[in-house]
Subunit: 110 residues, 4 copies
Amino acid sequence: MADETSGECCHGEQEHGHHGYIGNQAGYLRRLKLIEGQARGLQRMVEEEAYCIDILTQVSAMTKALQAVSLGLLSDHMNHCVVSAAREGDEAADAKIAEAMQAITRLVKS
Amino acid sequence: MADETSGECCHGEQEHGHHGYIGNQAGYLRRLKLIEGQARGLQRMVEEEAYCIDILTQVSAMTKALQAVSLGLLSDHMNHCVVSAAREGDEAADAKIAEAMQAITRLVKS
Amino acid sequence: MADETSGECCHGEQEHGHHGYIGNQAGYLRRLKLIEGQARGLQRMVEEEAYCIDILTQVSAMTKALQAVSLGLLSDHMNHCVVSAAREGDEAADAKIAEAMQAITRLVKS
Amino acid sequence: MADETSGECCHGEQEHGHHGYIGNQAGYLRRLKLIEGQARGLQRMVEEEAYCIDILTQVSAMTKALQAVSLGLLSDHMNHCVVSAAREGDEAADAKIAEAMQAITRLVKS
């Protein structure tokens, strides 16, 4: 969980009433619902003893769907929280970019 | 879906009654159930307007869990289907390894 | 190559006389020199018919070194060009972030 | 470095006089030479203060080239050493596949 400081960009944005991704909230919920369905489909495949490679193909499709969600969230975050921190001052900008880089590093390494 | 030919390794293993991963079937089901729960947890975070970076952290954890499932399935597949194809003859070995390499390539690029 | 527009952040920074990474220019050159050495070491291994898995281990080390350079360059870019574009206005911010997201997407998928 | 045991597949192949990749030795040397050239090109870009995003694009291209080398080496390794270990017996097969899975895991995570 982000500590109070890392959440401050959001307080700064409270005037707009939301984080970066909220404009697409319904879209993200729909995509995560589909991903949940993929996780259930994989369980069915394992129960029905599907061919290993076919299961791997579905896991790759699910990983790609998750990756697309990550990149979307990151883009929304940069367009809102990072931009607003940059305008707030050097310290706010440094903190937000350090935090975003940690998330990007996790994404790149996973 | 694998065509009949790619499924043949499995027929060859019918004597053992299963694909490579079946010895761990319950384990894979449990792990996929947890991953399904992670997908639901992400929906809750989006609904509750959690901080973007916290959502990204959870997506990375879920991607890592999926990746571990993939590597497990691949290892089981190699230890059973690939080994049994190698013993069957050069043609069977070539086909199984080409198929496994396609799955590995998708894994590496996703 | 970036077109004139994408290079404009840099013109905007000409007063500082450099891009984001230039403060670390010597460090990046040193790291890329080491990576060049790793590429030569790999050729030696192939010539001397080293064991395949040992070569793969060295390729992974080299890929990790390259990835670290990418993440460093991206961080410097965000701290300089993206922050300065955000302060310039919405249009400049949108363009820089779209461009950075393309680079991040390539990084994540490679 | 592989210990003596992990190199044994190669002794088993000494009749053919080579590891899996040796049939393509010249091809791998040529590709690694190109990759070495890419590392030098990147140094030139940093020296000439090229635009950060253009450097990142070239690093991605170089990473992709390295990844293709890895997948090629792995495929050759599976087609030769893993197949020959599978035919040698269960113990040899287990050891070679465990070793290959470690290399694949490093590839997937890098």
